[in-house]
Amino acid sequence: MDALNYFAMSWLSPELLGLTALGTFLGIYVGAIPGLSVTMAVSILISFTFSWDVNYALCLMVGVYMGGVYGGSRTAILLNIPGAPSAIATALDGYPLAKKGLAGEAIGLSTVMSVVGGFVGIIVLALSAPTISEFAITFQPRDYMMLGVLGIMLVGSLSGSSLARGVFAGALGLLIGTVGLDPMTAEERFTYGVVELWDGINPVAVMIGMFGISEALHQLHNMNKAVVKQKISRIIPKWSDVKKYMPLSLQTSFIGVIVGALPGTGGDIASLMAYDHAKRVTKNPKVPFGEGAKEGLIAPEAANNAAVGGAYIPMLTLGIPGDAVTAVFIGALFIHGLNPGPLLLVEQPHMFWFTVGNLTLANIFVLIFGLTGIKLFSKIVECPKGILIPLIFLLSIVGAYAINNSVTDIWWMLAFGVFGYFMRLYAFPVGPVILGVILSSLTDENWRRAILSERGSVGDLFINLFHSPLSTVLFSVIVLILFTQSPIWTKWLRDKIFHPSH
């Protein structure tokens, strides 16, 4: 009964309901504007909402997340410019449909299937998270430490062009997270005698710099791209179409949840896998794939929204994020004094059911906003970058200042923004840096607890790893990731794919 009360909390409070609606609305627009990512929006929002009540802040951010993942499809269909990486597959068949004058129908169908995917993700989250969480309570310090390492490695290996670059970014984040007074002994680490550094570097400043400033700087490369004008027709999809494509939508939603739940993956990988699945299972499409097949439109859309619920599973149960946005969410929860991980569901079960209820509400708002206001939408999407980018800079600077009412945080944010720009330029992923900062204290403290419990013996720690099935699995996964990213494996794979006869 309590669970139901918490579930309905954001539905019954006008303020929470309004904030979820506002967040979803903003998210759809942020997601739709190419270059503006949901991660960027959520990280900027943290700085403005960290003094709020946690429920209010979460409503706004959950709405932005849910709306943002869906919003990317709009520009993918209308302009052939995916607003977000998770909408890349949507553009393959969505834009050809728009060129045939079926933009409205494509948007309508993609909206309904996104909502279906969203619901599948939420249902799986609600059913599986408590079980996973119960299991995770048995984790020992060494398991937590390996989880931290695993989370950073997965994001590092999947979000960049090479493992070395991803691992570097993750380790840099870990190191940034250690700046300040050691939580166990109060010894100074990387403070250089500066009192302001005793509390460490604020993760929000790092987030805004790495995601907000660096991304906006990158957008300056594409300033001269012309804005495309739109014509919109009817958008309510035909019931016969909804019925016809529902089985495929459900199949790809499950793909989305599973892929989304794997740490380091997200809607982008989920949508591409779903597109591939749709291509394989659709024997005789009415229209060939790539030329406006509706199957190719709905599969990635259902999957990327389902991945949202999936991404919440490792975040809420293990404290490791499913994707970059949930990495930022973990930061937000920490700032609000919550501790995402196995104990969250035991100590604060209301947070879990509140989040599930809130995600459901946001998903309903996606349906409402997705099927209305399309004319206004097409105008806002056409907003020139020359106006948009200075506003992003302004919001980032104000956001960084608002953390502590201090210019120091602006300097940190700018430094990380410029560094992040060069990291992006030279294919170093920035996501693992944030993740490293967030997971730093968890990994550090649990490493020290684990090694202290083994009386300082690395040998004993290693041997005891194999006495616990969980530790063995975690250790094996880490080794497996290292192996699959090694040159030996890459060479073998390349030979197998490109020269299968050898």
Partner: protein, 171 residues
């Protein structure tokens, strides 16, 4: 643009220097981490930073060597393709904005920053830029200062007095 196959990873101008600087920076941080508590014990405050810095040194060396091996991209110039003047100018504008934000205050410094950067990036008439700047600033101010109650630097504008005068008009 490069004529090389997209399958072959090419080296952008400045990439090698960037990777080299990462190696240098990581080595410096490794040394700094060592200075925290040396190699006294595996549970010491310096152990974890030392391990993280060691990983950074290793990973940056691998990245540097890989970059060294990859062929340079053809027809790509650092100043034109990687760090064009528009980015340098915008970075300089942000820097100046951050410096004057505290002393001039949010309203004046943000107005100047928005006006100059929109005029520079959007290139429309001064009147259009002025209108866009004012509208944007009003919306941002209302949303963040008045609705979200975010404390912003006042600087030389007597903001609180102006707000109280406006409030008194409604009484």
């Amino acid at each position: 643009m490069s004529s090389q196959s997209p399958l072959i990873k090419t080296r952008k101008p400045g990439e090698l220097l960037f990777c080299f600087l990462l190696v240098m920076g990581s080595t410096y941080l490794f040394w700094q981490a060592y200075n925290i508590s040396g190699l006294s014990s595996l549970s010491s405050p310096g152990a974890f930073p030392l391990a993280a810095a060691a990983v950074m040194v290793l990973a940056s060396c691998v990245a540097f060597l890989n970059t060294l091996k990859s062929p340079a991209a053809e027809g790509v110039r650092f100043v034109y393709h990687c760090f064009p003047p528009v980015i340098a100018i915008i970075m300089a504008l942000i820097l100046v904005y951050s410096i004057v934000l505290d002393s001039l205050g949010f309203i004046l410094s943000s107005f100047a920053f928005l006006f100059i950067s929109i005029q520079f990036l959007y290139r429309r008439s001064v009147l259009t830029t002025l209108t866009i700047t004012l509208l944007s600033l009003i919306v941002v101010y209302i949303v963040f200062r008045l609705v979200f109650q975010v404390v912003l630097p006042e600087g030389i504008v007597p903001e609180r007095e102006i707000l109280s005068v406006i409030e008194s008009l409604w009484r």
